[in-house]
Structure formats: C-alpha cells, structure tokens
C-alpha cells in the first residue's frame, strides 16, 4: 500500500541540477508523511525489517546490481588512490606539456586521437598539454568527495531533524515542517547561482574558512553546503515517517517500559531501522550530486579550475567536439558511467532490501 506522495518532496527548482530520479523513486516506495497536515491513512515502512542476510543473498543473485556494485567500488578505490598516486608522481595532473601541442591550430594536441600515447593513455588537454587521465582520475576524487560530503551532510541534517521532529512532535514538528516548506520553495538552481559570489565571500571573509590551494577550499565548502542545505528535506520527511511508524511498535514500548533513556531509544532502536532506506537514498543521491557538480561547473559556480573536478574538465571539453573528439568524449562518458552505475546500485539495493518491491 502506498501512502500519499509528500507534495513538495519531488518538486521545484531542482530542475536540471537535480535529484528528481532518486526522490521520486523513494517516495514511491517508502512511506512519506506530509508535514502539511495531510495525514496518510496507512504506512508501510517494511524496508528496515527484512533480515540483512536475506537482502544480501537477493542482492548477490542480481547480476546487474553486482556489476554496478563492482564499478562503484572501482570508482571509490580510484578516488582514494588518486591523491596518493599524485604524491608518487604517477599521476601528473598539473604538469604542462606545451611541446606536444600544435600552436598554429589553437593549441590542440599534436598527432592523432587527441595525443594518445603510452605516456598519456587518454591523451592530453588542449592549450596546456596536461595529462587527461591524471586530471580525470583526480577529478573523480574531487567530484566524489564533494558528492559524498554533501550527501553525508544532507543525510545528517535530515536524519537529526527527522528524528527530533517525529519523536518530539507538537510545536517542534510543525516548526521543522515550516523549515522544510521554506527550503523546498526556494528555486534551488537560481539560489546556487545567485548566492555564489556573496556566500563565498561570507564563508571566506566572515567565517574565515581557509582558502586552501587555488582558493578552492572555501568554494568546495560552498558547493557542499548549498547542495546539502537544499537536499535534506526529503530525508527529514522519510526519517520522520519511519520514526512515526516505528515509534508505535512494541519493541519501543518495551524499551520505554524498561526505563531506557530517550536518547538511547533514538539511537539504539530507531537508527538501525533507518539504515536500509538511508543507504538506498545515499546511493541514489551521490550520482545526482556528481551531475549537480558538473552543472555548477558549467555555470562557473563550482570549485574553480585548475582543480580538476569532473565538471571542470567536462566544461572545458565541450568546445572540442570537432577538433579533439577524444578530449570531448572521455569526461562526459566518465560522468555518465558514474551516474548510471550508482543509480543501478541504488535500485539493486532497494530491491534487495525491500522484498515487497515488484521490479
């Protein structure tokens, strides 16, 4: 049985820089409560209850899930390894090779196939001749790092507010509900774009967040913050819904009767029941934020080059569709593979964790 779709959970300005896919999937499978006094009659919230082993077995049986899982693991390992390889000088994302460029042709790589050689397996970048593989590889670290931080922060804010809202109820609940309304009503892309200058100035100037190398720490903090600050409401609603349904169950009653403290109940009893939907949410939000970073880079409000995020490299590459097709193709393909595999992984996890799901 499906309860009402939480109205704003899937709406608004998220257009294009967005997480509509994950949000809509979630809302179709998880019970959601509307903060706006539209009370659903029924709730499901089965997901967390299915035994982990069963889920694991189901997950392992699904070929597509396993493939996408392997790709995701590969990306994560690559992301962790990249800074190390840069230190060891295996990857050289910042070393120019002007000698390999054609000065008379706008600085595109000499030779065929975008300058692909043994030394530069994905070719070199036009203009400066930096190694494309190195930049993309390190770009995975930056892009996944940003997406991961933003997702963690969003989940954290959402979970805390959702639990508090669900448990305390009353005024707190409706205040959180108002904040959710406020957040969801803001046109997200517009705010991301418009606030960049002033907020980065604020973070760096007033809050003294260090500028870091290439002045990018503060810019990265901005991107993470805004993604998270606009991303938490669906999680808060999800968690609140779960809390409401779990709260009424026997084992909580039993814990209360045994005199367990409030916080103990929150974290020992509720949180374990939330991990399954949160995990699904997590895997579906990550790729959305990777895309979001790319879109922000296109609008020039992401982390600035020369820091090689995937968005930065892609934004640079789109002009070269004809003159340097290899350079044009690789960054977009890499982003697409990340997004697809994370999404498939999320689907697989959801199917495995929720035996009721039908697809």
């Amino acid at each position: 049985m499906r309860a009402i779709l939480a109205p704003a959970a899937v709406s608004t300005g998220k257009i294009e820089v967005n997480m509509s896919l994950s949000a809509s999937d979630l809302s179709s499978h998880e019970a959601q409560h509307d903060a706006d006094s539209l009370e659903p009659v029924g709730t499901s919230g089965i997901a967390g209850l299915s035994p982990t082993k069963l889920a694991l077995r189901r997950f392992r049986r699904d070929k597509l899930s396993m493939i996408s899982f392997s790709i995701v693991v590969l990306y994560v390992v690559a992301a962790i390894a990249a800074p190390l390889l840069v230190k060891l000088k295996v990857l050289k994302p910042n070393t120019p090779h002007s000698d390999l460029l054609d000065v008379n042709q706008g600085g595109i790589p000499l030779g065929k196939f975008g300058g692909i050689t043994w030394h530069h397996p994905l070719g070199i970048e036009p203009g400066l001749g930096r190694d494309v593989l190195s930049r993309l590889w390190l770009g995975i670290t930056y892009s996944l790092g940003i997406a991961l931080s933003a997702t963690i922060l969003a989940v954290l804010i959402g979970t805390v507010l959702g639990i508090v809202s669900g448990f305390v109820g009353g005024i707190v609940d409706s205040v959180v509900g108002r904040i959710i309304d406020l957040t969801l009503s803001f046109p997200q892309t517009l705010m991301l774009l418009a606030l960049s200058g002033t907020m980065v100035g604020f973070l760096g100037g007033t809050l003294h967040i260090p500028k870091g190398e290439n002045g990018n720490t503060v810019q990265a903090v901005y991107v993470i913050l805004v993604l998270a600050l606009f991303g938490w409401p669906p999680i808060a609603r999800l968690v609140r819904g779960q809390v409401l349904s779990i709260r009424e169950r026997e084992f909580i009653e039993a814990a209360r009767a045994l005199g367990a403290s409030k916080w103990r109940i929150y974290f020992k009893e509720i949180v374990p029941n939330l991990w399954a939907p949160l995990l699904v949410y997590f895997t579906l939000t990550m790729p959305a934020y990777v895309s979001a970073e790319a879109a922000l880079a296109y609008l020039q409000v992401s982390v600035k080059p020369p820091t090689p995020t995937l968005g930065n490299v892609l934004t640079d590459s789109i002009a070269y569709s004809v003159s340097d097709f290899e350079f044009f193709f690789f960054p977009a393909a890499l982003i697409a593979i990340i997004v697809v595999s994370f999404n498939l992984l999320g689907d697989g996890l959801r199917d495995a964790l929720d035996p009721k799901s039908t697809n």
Binding site: S98, D102, G107, I108, K304, P306, D316, S323
Partner: protein, 570 residues
C-alpha cells in the same frame, strides 16, 4: 575597471596585421558575380554580451561606441572609414564644419556645427543639444557608468570629495558654473578646460559622451536603451535588452562624408555563445551568410578554419594589452621583480590561450596603434625571457628560496586557468613557489584592496582614445589611485614620485607629439621598476558570412567590424 573580460572595455586602436587572412577591400571579396559596394540587404550582427547602455553619455564598451558612431550617433568629429591604420586615428569633420580649433595651450576648443544636419525627427541639431549632452555626465546619480573625463577636464569648481559642484541638468545646482565652461554662440560651441586637452578631438571621436542630446527626449534612467538618431540609421521599434534590435534607414540623415551606410537594415542578435557563433558562421547557411560578429573564433575551432572558410576569417590586432604586475606592498626587492619578469612564461600563456591567432607578444603596456608608441627596451628579452638570468637574479636577491608568491587573477574559466598554470610553470622553474588564486566575483575587491596579500596579479587595458594619456596616468599615477581603502586601477600599489612628476609635465604639454615623447620616457621608468610585465596584445580572429561584402576593420572600429563600410552582396 581595467579588464575587458569584465563588462567594461575601452576604445582605441588596432591594426590589420595578417594580409593573408584579411579580406580587405572589395577585390578579395568579389566572386559569385555579385557586386560588392552596392546599397541594400540585411546585415546580421551576432554577438554574445548584451549592450549595457545605448545612452550616448553612458555607453563605454569599445564595440558599442564604434558601432553606434557609425549607425546613429554622429559626433563633432569622427574617425574615417579606412583600412589604413595611421589614417584611421586621425579625426575628420563630421557634425562640425572642421576638426576644431584650440587656443590657450589646448585649454580652449571651438567647433562650428554644420547647418543642415538633423535629428531623426527632422529638427536641426543645435549647439544647445551638444551642451545638454555634456551636462548629463555631471548627473552622476542618474547617468551612471559612462566615461566621465569631462568631470575632470571642464573648468568648473569642485567640492571636497573631488566631484564638481554642478550636478547635472536634473537637479541643476550651480548651473552657472557649467554655463560659463561651455558656451554657445549661434552654431559655435566653445569648451573651456582647466588643464590642456590637446587630444580632445581624439576623445570626441572615440567616445560618444561628448555627443549631442535632445533635452525633450531625455527621460534619465528610462532613456538607457532609447536611441534618438542623427546618423544614417534609426532604431526600429524598441531595443530588446536581452536579444538586441534592428536598425533601419533614417531618411533625415544628410551631409555625411564618413559613413557609407551600405546595408538597408542591420539586425543585432545578442546573447549567443562564442562556440555557437563560430558554428553558425562556419556552416554559413540562410541569414548567417550575411552575418558578422565581434566574437573571436574559439581556439577549439581553429582546425575547422580551412579552405573556403579560411577566406572568410580575418585576423586583426585589438586595442587591448594584457599584463601582469607585482604588488609593490609585498614584492619590495627589485631583484625579485627582475627575476619575475625574466621568468614570465609568455609563450606558454599565449599557447594556453589559443596560440598565435589569439595573441601577439607585447613589448609595452602601450598598444602599438597609439600615437607615439615605442617598444619598451626593458622588455626586449620578452616573450622568451631568460630563465638562467632569472635564477641568478633570484639567487642574488638574498631572499630565502624557493620564494613563495601568490598569483591572484580573474579566473573561473578553463582558459584563464590554463594560462595561469603556464605562468606558474615558468616562475616555479626560476625558483619561485607559486600558489594560484583564481577569483571571479571578488576579483576587484581583492586586487583593489591595498592590504590584500597577493604578490602578483593580472590586468588588461585598452586606451579610451588613441593617446597614451589614457593608459599610463590612469594606471600608474599613485595620487589619483591610491587611497586608504582602494588602489583604484593601480593594482600593484605602485608609487613613484618620479613618475608622478613626469605625468604632471606631460599633462601640461599642449602638443600631442610632445606629450607622447614624455610618455615614452615614463614607460621606460615603469619598465626599469618592473611596475608591470606586458604579456600580449589580444588578436581578433573573426569570421563573417560569405555574402558579406567589403569586410573591413581598423583602429577606427577598435578592431571590430567597421559598420561604416561593410555591405551585403547584391
């Protein structure tokens, strides 16, 4: 601001450099059996950045100044339509009967307005219209953003904050001051300046802010995009701020020896990206066959400029010079600055920006097209530099190595990033340890802050009129730039009493050539101090459609397409 990458740009000179690529004159553009110098047709102008102002007293972008001079805003004197780069910066009589007479050491200028020149509604252009136009610049709370040189030059009393007491025609306080400074006698207008203004005709021809304005058409801020023409065209309907507008023939236009006014219609299409413009002009279909642009071909497209397409590409020198400059508040050791200069990787910067069709190495901050240009001998070793000598100079400086420096620049785009990385490469090799600090929105806040901690920054400049007087004083006179809160345009916080006094000497000279010689001396001093390091002159590598006739550009059009001479094949 000093950057043409920001919404403010400037005007001056440029030159057609590549004979092989330029389709100058009608001979190379003939073909297809069509006549080239005939009137008629529609010309399309594809561009990216929307015009910020069309109000003659407010516009300040080199492209718009040149375009509107040719289409709708005639001046007392204007530059001729020509490809001869020397002749292109010699003003000709336009609305005035001659090029003006000066007296009193260049402090007084007189012009007589032609009798039969009219506004688009058929009324005659009067001396009062010129006077009213000049008065508008004084209303600094309404007429925002335009060139305001007249505030400094005109002989009117000033208040404590340096602004004139006369505050424009709207509030009209102290109007008597202004009435004394500019006087009308029939059709003769007299300007009285407080200091010599020998290059005043150059300023008139370059900027539209000295042009006439009809009082009954003035609605202040509301007139920002209103065009009340006295030129060969007039605006059809209204100007769409985002999209552009269409100019059609103005039947009241007469007595003009400068403009050919060939097309019947000129349509401006704003807001396109450089890539899309290049794509469309390469494809050359439909109305794009009669299209021109002011956007350079992106380096990524150079491989596509071959064969017939290459015949439609032109390479012109722009009025702009890019430079880097040390922060004198931090980099006080002259040896360190010398090492910085010698290790500046200009060739890498140029390659990263697109190579030899995008930039040409510069030998001075002064653009070669300016009257009295001389290469600065202190930069003769550029663009190659001298890495060994740089290493030695840094060693001799007595500073601890590697010497850490922070390079702050206007970044955020892939190209600016690559160019900065190329500079870092060169400086690092000489013994510096460079941190890159790309800024976007906050760039001017940082570089104009005298307490900022950068060691090196970037600047770009184009002269407002083809005279060095609009380059060196605004950039390096510490008295007009440096205050407690801001360094104005003197981003490097450069302060030299020698240079300041030489600037004063130049300002007192009533002759353009004497002035130019003095400025060359000042430039030499700046080079010795390494007050700046010239990088390159931006080149304009433009495409146009195959049915565009007589494509030309010159310093008179700031290197942009010369709308006074370009036509459409019939």
């Amino acid at each position: 601001m000093a950057s043409y990458r920001k919404p403010i740009a400037a005007i001056a000179a440029a030159a057609v450099v590549s004979v092989t690529l330029v389709a100058c004159g009608s001979s190379s553009d003939g073909g297809k059996g069509k006549t080239t110098d005939a009137k008629g047709g529609t010309l399309y102008y594809l561009t990216k950045r929307p015009a910020e102002h069309l109000d003659p007293q407010r516009m300040y972008i080199g492209r718009d100044l040149a375009d509107m001079n040719r289409l709708v805003y005639r001046q007392l004197v204007s530059f001729p339509v020509t490809t001869d780069k020397a002749a292109a910066v010699v003003p000709q009589a336009d609305l005035a009967t001659d090029t003006g007479t000066s007296s009193n050491d260049g402090k007084t200028w007189k012009f007589t307005i032609k009798d039969d020149v009219k506004w688009q509604d058929g009324k005659a252009i009067t001396c009062e219209d010129f006077k009213y136009g000049a008065s508008r610049t004084f209303a600094t709370d309404v007429i925002i953003g335009g060139p305001n040189y007249i505030l400094g030059f005109l002989d009117v009393p000033k208040g404590k904050d340096g602004l004139p007491l006369y505050d424009g025609p709207y509030k009209n306080d102290n109007a008597a001051d202004f009435d004394k400074a500019i006087t009308c006698d029939g059709n003769t207008i007299t300007y009285n300046f407080s200091k010599p203004f020998p290059d005043f005709p150059l300023a008139i021809a370059s900027l539209n802010s000295f042009g006439p304005y009809r009082k009954d058409q003035d609605q202040g801020d509301k007139s920002n995009y209103a065009v009340f023409s006295n030129g060969p065209y007039k605006l059809e309907g209204t100007w769409d701020v985002a999209k552009g507008g269409t100019f059609v023939r103005n039947p009241e236009w007469s007595d003009d020896n400068i403009r050919k006014a060939l097309p019947d219609k000129i349509v401006f299409e704003q807001g396109l990206t450089n890539e899309i413009i290049a794509d469309r002009l390469i494809a050359d279909v439909g109305q794009d066959k009669t299209a021109i642009t002011d956007r350079a071909i992106p380096p990524a497209y150079y491989t596509q400029i071959t064969g017939a397409v290459a015949d439609r590409a032109t390479l012109t020198e722009s009025p702009f010079v890019d430079y880097v400059l040390p922060n004198f508040n931090k980099m006080k050791n002259p040896k360190v600055r010398e090492a910085l200069k010698l290790s500046t990787n200009i060739n890498g910067w140029i390659t990263a920006g697109g190579g030899d069709k995008a930039y040409k190495p510069a030998q001075s901050i002064v653009n070669p097209a300016l009257v009295g240009y001389k290469p600065n001998p202190n930069f003769s070793m550029l663009p190659a530099g001298d890495l060994a000598a740089a290493k030695q100079a840094l060693k001799d400086s007595g500073e601890k190595l590697p010497y850490p420096i922070k390079f702050t620049y206007s970044g955020g785009t892939p190209t600016s990033d690559k160019q900065a990385a190329a500079l870092k490469d060169g400086w690092d090799a000489a013994g510096f340890k460079v941190t890159l600090n790309p800024l976007t929105d906050t760039y001017y806040d940082i570089v104009q802050d005298p307490t900022a901690d950068f060691d090196v920054t970037w600047g770009g400049w184009g002269a407002d009129w083809p005279s060095i007087a609009t380059v060196i004083p605004p950039l390096f006179d510490s008295r007009i730039n440096l205050t407690a809160k801001s360094n104005g345009q003197d981003y490097g916080n450069y302060k030299s009493d020698t240079v300041n006094s030489m600037i004063d000497e130049a300002a007192q000279m009533g002759d353009v050539n004497d002035q130019a010689a003095k400025y060359a001396e000042i430039d030499d001093q700046l080079g010795k101090d390494v007050a700046y390091i010239p990088l390159e002159i931006t080149l304009f590598y433009f495409l146009h459609g195959s049915d565009v006739a007589n494509y030309i550009s010159s310093p008179a059009s700031n290197g942009y397409p010369e709308l006074g001479g370009i036509g459409v094949k019939q």
